[in-house]
Amino acid sequence: MNIGDIAKGLAAGVGIDLSPNGKTAYYVEWSIGELCKVEVDTGKVTKVLGGLNYPEDVEVDWDTGEIFVSERTGEITKVSAEGRDVPVANPGGAPQQLALVKQGGKRYLFTVCYDSGHLARVDVDAGSITNFVGGLGHPVGLVIDANVSHAYVTEQDKSSLTRIELATGSTTVVYSGLRSPFFLAWDRDDTGIFCVQRDPSNSLVKLRMGPPVTLESIATGLAWRPSGVMPNSDDSRIYICADQKLQVISFNGVPKIAPEPQPFEVHSIRFNYDGSQAIALKDHLTDDYIHKDPEWIKGTRDEPAAYVRGTCPHIKVVFRKVAGTVSGTYAIGAIGNLGGVRRKDVTPTFHPSGVSDPIDFQLMWPLPRSIGKHSVSLEWYGRKTASASVPIPVGSAVHSICTTWKTMEPQKDPTTLSDWVYKMPMLWTSEWAAGKDNEKEICDAIIHDLHLSGLKYGIGGGSVRAILVGGGGMCGGWHDMFQHLAHCQGVFVHRRCFLVDWRSLPGNEVKWKAIVIRSGGLNQPAPTWPAAEFHDVDAQYPITSTTPINAVTEKRYSFWGFPGVAADGHCINFLEYDGKLYLYDPSFGTGPFQIATFGGPEAPLPPEDLTVLGGTQLTSFKKEYLDSAVDYMLGSLKDDADALHADITAKTQIIPDLAGPFKEITFYWIP
């Protein structure tokens, strides 16, 4: 047994019918509403009719040459001799597979209706409809037995093959345990039913009618989403209509489809253009937009694109003439792992340079409705429309496409946010936050995986671009970076810096001069600064004349305030989500820390205007975050004997919010 491709480039192929001589197969393409036929030994395809409304199945009366099509919208139509579709009847309810039965001088089309759950019979010539039975669970496939006494139906809800007695309407599940069963076809001696399954292995099985009914696997590894099945007269070839291919399962050799000369090739693909829905990306090295040139140029360029999830992008494709190019109209499209590109008839004209103008195409299906970084394959083909022709490959590529959570909102912080983002943050966040579905989950995923960027804390880099170019930065850049990363996914986070409030107190006491941090920060095993001597107070506050003061020489970061004005400190981010406030510290890759609001429901966030907060205003901030993030506060402290100890590093955890009315730790706040 072999599986071979007869025709590639189907746009959601579904139902199929095969001529009695086994030479011609008709099939319908759901996405683009076309009915086509293919000579199965040559692979030559001809479009028969377009403009159908989501066709599900095709059934040919081979005696009269009439072609019937069921449509998702409820209609059953007939293709007239003039090549137009003529309504036959409208059973509604999304008719699926058709079965033509001739009985008593009449022609009946049986069908099952996916939405309504009916088994219906249409008198083809009278147009009347008879419903035999209802209540089927999303039926799809249908065959009628030779003496028209029973119908066999695949029910999606029950994963079953169900038998319906036409005289009484009684239903019996004769086999359960199918996996996403689709269309059906009788075998050559009417003792078994072929059933296509859209299971993960894309399979064809045969149900031997018994009794008991048993299952036999015929083939696995068919093309993605197989729907229609039709064997030839001796079952030596079984044709399968799948999403993007028409295939044959053959027991006597697969037809050799002779390739036709390539008419042209795909030269470039532009995802982002004026009016497109693509998110603008910039390269951090050049600071240029990625889309200043097409994102993909054959052999020379391969850049990513990004869209909000669920977008169905249009793209601009340029073709290049090749030796032997024959001008004319071609049906051009692409197959691919996310559905490919919607086929359309195009007459490319080539400039003297050999390339065409950009031609608009649209992806077949919307991009996934979740955050992700996708490798999207496109295998382009062109087929001459003037006569029966084989679809010819004209180029292929795999594109990196990100899908984001929501549209970006740069207006929420115009100082730092724009309607574009850098490429790498987009790629990272689309991977890290894949499948996440709310602001908090997204920010949590970003902070969790931030180290995977390889970027570091503790080296110069005060902006998003500087961090990307230099490989790292300090907190002023990092809180911009975290905001930028969240912005890629359409999530807004606030920026805040808390700056050391250097307060000189009577007797040369100072609270505080600096914050001191022992951790190295993101992707740094230890602080990057040289070791220095510190005088630590770890256990007792306020200090006394007997408080142990430990001289320690080690690498630490110290960020210094300045007498009387705001200077250095640390920068973080806040997310407001579900009435709660979460703090993220990208410099150290930590968070979320849930913080009680700083000013009650009216003003949950710290101020933006250098206002100083301290004491109980910082209780939650200190307890949930500062005590673990900032190891020491450096100041000059007096002991209980009024002796001054210059430059003591007091453990943050042991410093209370208040000493009487005095606010022990205070910070300036600014974005």
């Binding site: 100082t415 080296i459 005060g462 902006s463 907190c475 600096a514 600064w529 510190f534 400190g569």
Partner: protein, 132 residues
């Protein structure tokens, strides 16, 4: 040497002004590496008392263009670049010392800077002065 001792290293006002002037000179700035610790100490000395020369130095700092080269063993300010941190200090002291006298210069910094944090500090000072 302890952190605090490093901070307390005495610099005279004239030494401090000289250091900042070197830092303001493009030719010196290209040749010399600085320690952020010494720059900060110089700024602390300069801003101890309002003098004409201190005011001039701070005004010149607002015009600082180009990066300061810090030595490998130098500290680095965290919330802003060294250049922006110096401008931030200059803005705040000029605002406290001279009120609206240099408002236009402060506004120019706010307009020109690429640092959102410096811009916000400048804005806060300008708003205090009743500008814009």
């Amino acid at each position: 040497m302890a952190r605090g001792e490093r901070e307390q290293q005495a610099m005279t006002a004239s030494d401090s002004i000289r250091l900042i002037q070197e830092l303001l000179s493009p030719s010196t700035r290209e040749k010399r590496e600085f320690l952020w610790q010494e720059i900060r100490a110089a700024m602390a000395e300069i801003t101890k008392t309002q003098t004409r020369s201190a005011e001039d130095v701070l005004l010149h700092l607002l015009e600082l263009e180009g990066p300061i080269r810090l030595a490998p063993q130098s500290d680095i300010p965290s919330v802003m670049s060294p250049e922006d941190m110096l401008k931030s200090l200059a803005i705040q002291f000029l605002s406290r010392w001279t009120g609206r006298k240099h408002l236009k210069a402060l506004e120019r910094v706010k307009e020109k800077t690429a640092s959102p944090t410096l811009s916000r500090i400048a804005m806060a000072e300008i708003e205090k002065l009743g500008g814009e």
